[in-house]
Symmetry: C2
Subunit: 190 residues, 2 copies
Amino acid sequence: MRVMGVDPGLTRCGLSLIESGRGREVTALDIDVVRTPADMELSRRLLLIANAAEYWMDTHKPTAVAIERVFSQQNVRTAMGTAQAGGVIALAAARRDIPVTFHTPSQVKSAVTGNGAADKNQVTAMVTRILGLQTKPTPADAADALALAICHCWRAPMMERMAQAEAAAAEQKKRYEARLAQVRKEAKAR
Amino acid sequence: MRVMGVDPGLTRCGLSLIESGRGREVTALDIDVVRTPADMELSRRLLLIANAAEYWMDTHKPTAVAIERVFSQQNVRTAMGTAQAGGVIALAAARRDIPVTFHTPSQVKSAVTGNGAADKNQVTAMVTRILGLQTKPTPADAADALALAICHCWRAPMMERMAQAEAAAAEQKKRYEARLAQVRKEAKAR
């Protein structure tokens, strides 16, 4: 699996590319931060981000895109911009038929450090260790994008198994209900 | 001015097209609501909305796009989806070099009804009257999209004059500061 991790943002948008191997083996292939000026019109900023993400997808051909899910942040305006940046990147992936998964910050922290409430330094330190990097990835947005892609590599197989189990359970329930309805109908007919 | 009004949303996204004439003259040209299923993957929903908005732009050739600015809503998850839907439409406009303006719900209500805290019924009633429609536009999302486009037609000239005044003031300030620096330099030299 070749995962593109995205830490969305209007001012700084972190992008990463991770290749997963056997088990929990992960390798960092690339990293970038897209910046857009704060005084630029919002739609133009989204265009710069979308263009950069599309170029990245067309160059690196990821098989999956993982984006940080925004919940409420301190600043509503910032949260909205972050959601919009993530939205245009999800759109770019959908246009290329690349599946998109959103992970919450606590899912990412939990996957990478084992603690859903870990701070930025802990996350960066674990990302550096997991990927066997010589130095800490900077800026923080790049480290977050790497953490997100690692999280996806590790969570995706589990999420797929859960989805399969859920689908199987739903199928079983449907068959059970159909049989129940049949039995009731027969009882009524008698 | 030919304004495309957008009431963004993942489940229902209202689109409208308004042509402005002299003074406060406005004419409704088209209206539509794009729906996407709630059980569809988020990136696929954004793709459906983007495709519909792009088709609308390429067919109707609006000269301006007005989108409702999302502030905090009751439900953070809904607000994020709304922001993302608005984001992909803003992106589509930016790709076509169409200027995008965001208006807050209270700016829209205030422009259309004279009351920034008007309820949905008042807004719909005023939109129906302003546009001289035979019946109320339905659903509510379509009426909101019309209100948004009307708001833009009426606010845009004022916003442009304000931007010009601000630019002129900034220019004047720059000239003043340059003169001040020159005078200080001369005083120091003496």
